[in-house]
């Protein structure tokens, strides 16, 4: 083919013309500067004073920069948008009330959010931008195990306190002393949900598990398979799919052929979960649908339709308007819906709570040092949207880095999520008792 032979010289000739033009322009500019040196001196000095005075103005108000690395595009954007809103909402309240005073200096908070696209590479890019570009003091929210692990590879060496929503065990523990998890994870969800399902469906004997093919999916799949097997069920299929998949027929046929009583779709986002269950329904499967790690219930119901969504069990979509919700959660839910058009989810409210935890630690430690704050966080209790909470589960992760909040099991009933069961951590009760905090 001769097209390449013509194209390359063409590109080179265009490029060299461009360079020649640029050099010519640069020469012209230099001559102009020489001619009008006085004018440029004046402009330069003006700029210097402008920057200096701007620095003086901003210096009057100390700012604590909070980074958010979340998913603002693609299938999981439904989570990232509300997560960012929740952090900004929490910060707005504190800033409006005058901010916080640390070692006698008044501070206000600023939120900087970027899209990590739920990908490791983008997670690293965003973390670099936040840590070295924006020089954030703390990372208040992350989304997705893969981008979070990439973030932690930058924030931990820099000793930046990070609140993550990553499920991976690699994102926690003694090797991650500055990282705290702000959301219930598979370790908390599956052991609560699986016994409930078995109790209500004693005839169910087999389960098929399907998860997204990434760090979040792998970790959750491991816990899911272990938990189902431990409960005495046979795992008849274990499949992974790429996020963003739109054609599920081949995989759905395989799942159906395994004849599972239960299909556990793990951490699939709402749109993909809807396509999987729609495909299964079309294939004639009508078993127990379980979405332990899915968020965005309203989106799921909208995408799947009431008939397909009906009866689905979820472990991470508490009903923030139901009888088990706190007044703070109800208020936040309504405001989020009003301002973003999307309902508040567990990740978003987790980030709201992470800010409450950070605020409590800042007040208690009276320091901006991440190491001091991390030590403080492992000891104190803070009042979040679920009520009083602490970080715990050192027996599982090696350090008390996991937020202890109730796990609520939700079931879709007539196009709405209804909380059908709740489990509270015994460790939380014990720790609050130790700290002398009375709860209901």
């Amino acid at each position: 083919m001769d097209t390449g032979n013509r194209t390359i010289p063409f590109i080179f000739s265009k490029f060299s013309m461009l360079i020649t033009n640029k050099l010519h322009l640069a020469t012209k500019l230099r001559r102009a500067i020489m001619r009008k040196r006085g004018f440029f001196k004046a402009v330069g000095l003006s700029f210097f004073f402008l920057i200096f005075s701007a620095g003086a103005v901003t210096g009057a108000e100390n700012v604590i920069k909070l980074g958010v690395t979340t998913t603002l595009s693609g299938a999981a954007s439904v989570w990232g948008l509300t997560q960012t809103w929740a952090v900004k909402e929490a910060v707005k309240k504190v800033n409006e009330a005058g901010g916080i005073t640390i070692q006698g200096k008044p501070y206000k908070f600023e939120v900087i959010a970027y899209d990590n696209k739920y990908k490791s590479a983008d997670g690293a890019t965003v973390a670099n931008k936040l840590v070295f570009g924006d020089k954030v003091n703390f990372i208040i929210a992350t989304m997705g195990s893969a981008p979070t692990l990439a973030t932690l590879s930058i924030t931990e060496p820099q000793k930046i306190l990070t609140f993550s929503s990553a499920w991976s065990k690699k994102a926690k523990g003694p090797n991650r002393p500055h990282t705290f998890c702000q959301i219930n994870t598979p370790v908390e969800i599956w052991p609560t949900l699986v016994p409930y399902i078995i109790e209500n469906y004693p005839n169910a004997k087999t389960v098929a598990c399907i998860a997204p093919n990434d760090a979040t999916g792998w970790d959750a799949m491991k816990v899911a398979v272990e938990t189902w097997q431990k409960a005495g069920l046979k795992v008849v299929a274990k499949e992974y799919y790429e996020r963003g998949t739109t054609e599920f027929y081949p995989i759905v046929t395989k799942l159906k052929a395994a004849k599972p009583d239960i299909v556990d779709i793990n951490t699939a986002p709402p749109g993909e979960a809807a396509l999987i269950f729609r495909g299964l329904k079309e294939m004639g499967w009508d078993g127990i649908k379980v979405c332990p790690g899915m968020m965005g219930l309203a989106k799921f119901i909208e995408a799947a339709g009431n008939e397909i969504a009906e009866g689905t069990y979820l472990g991470l979509t508490p009903d923030f308007t139901g009888p088990l919700a706190t007044p703070a959660q109800r208020k936040l839910y309504e405001k989020c819906l009003q301002e973003t058009g999307s309902p508040l989810d567990a990740v978003a409210i987790g980030s709201y709570d992470a800010f409450q935890a950070l605020l409590a630690a800042l007040k208690t430690a009276d320091s901006l040092d991440s190491t001091v704050l991390a030590e403080t966080l492992s000891k104190i209790a803070f009042e979040g949207s679920y009520g009083w909470s602490v970080f715990g589960e050192a027996d599982i992760y090696g350090t008390p880095c996991q937020i202890l909040i109730p796990v609520r099991i939700t079931r879709v009933q007539k196009g709405k999520g209804v909380d059908v069961a709740v489990r509270r951590s015994p460790e939380l009760k014990a720790r609050l008792k130790e700290l002398g905090i009375k709860t209901e």
Binding site: R6, T7, S73, T246, G271, E302
Partner: protein, 308 residues
């Protein structure tokens, strides 16, 4: 195992095989539908349009906003009428958009493979980011236009997919008749075979290029309208389909429409059977393995013409 058991097992296996076969045809049809416009643009302009997936995506947004939000939810139009109008509308809108893109952006790069590829890759990013800014990054689902299934014994065919197969056959027949029975089709075929000779015969390459690009984009738009109710639309949804379309046009032979149909069906079979007997990732591996294998034994693709 008794005789009855083994017969039941055989029936079950046969039904499963038929199900996998039907799945393969359904998946293959969807891929052919997306790839056909891409191969048409290449055959006329010698441009590999990286922005083809975004034309599909725009067709999906037309479906979501005009069909679902406006016609169905706002005007409460009868669903089938609304869908029919949307198909016509998307064809026209994407066709006009394609025509303008060709005139405005691709004109200097007609016949220039490398430059066209770079320009279309840039256009793809612009359209993705632009859509993300205008429509938001969320996945938007549309309820099925033809809900329910046809069931024969234990073999199941979703109605919306049967409609896609039917409409794709009609579209392919239409393209065939257009190319084989009209003067314009003859001009397109002539250009795709020998540009210089066609121009010497008085065929206007510029007009045919614009028209070919418009038809290619319109086909991508139609595929968006047809497929999105079975899937979802987002600013980045086109990338996955573009990758499949590339596999198809490379395997089928760059610029060959019959090759595109055969390769689309092969890909459907690889995905359906590969996923069932191995895994989704094994099926993807087989797809790319197939490209390597075919390029080794037949570098011009199954039905492509060899370059001299």
């Amino acid at each position: 195992m008794t005789g009855t058991d083994s017969r039941e097992q055989w029936i079950m296996d046969s039904e499963l095989f038929i199900q996998l076969f039907i799945n393969a045809v359904m998946i293959g049809t969807i891929y052919v539908l997306v790839a056909i416009g891409l191969t048409m643009i290449f055959s006329i302009m010698n441009v590999v349009n990286f922005a083809h997936g975004e034309m599909y995506m725009l067709g999906g947004y037309v479906t979501y906003f005009i069909f679902f939000r406006y016609f169905v939810q706002h005007l409460h139009m009868p669903i089938y009428l609304a869908y029919f109008i949307t198909i016509i509308l998307a064809t026209l809108l994407l066709g006009i958009f394609g025509f303008l893109l060709e005139k405005g952006i691709f004109r200097p790069f007609r016949g220039d493979l490398l430059a066209g590829l770079m320009v279309s890759a840039g256009l793809s990013m612009v359209l993705q980011m632009g859509s993300a800014m205008v429509f938001g990054g969320k996945d938007l689902n549309i309820p099925s236009v033809f809900p329910g299934v046809f069931r024969v014994f234990d073999v199941i065919m979703a109605k919306d997919r049967v409609v896609i197969i039917g409409l794709t056959i009609i579209i392919l027949l239409g393209i065939y008749l257009f190319l084989m029975r009209t003067r314009l089709g003859l001009a397109i075929r002539t250009i795709s075979q020998n540009k210089e000779a066609a121009q010497l015969q008085g065929i206007n390459f510029a007009t045919i290029s614009s028209l070919g690009f418009a038809i290619g984009c319109a086909l991508a738009g139609i595929s968006g309208v047809l497929i999105v109710p079975t899937a979802f639309v987002s600013p980045f949804v086109g990338s996955g389909y573009l990758m499949k379309a590339f596999i198809i046009i490379i395997v089928g032979g760059m610029g060959s429409i019959p090759g595109c149909i055969i390769a689309g069906m092969i890909l459907g079979f690889v995905e359906s059977f590969g996923t069932f007997f191995f895994s989704l990732h094994a099926a993807a591996l087989f797809s790319f393995g197939m490209i390597i294998f075919i390029l080794i034994i037949r570098p011009q693709g199954l039905l492509g013409r060899a370059e001299r």
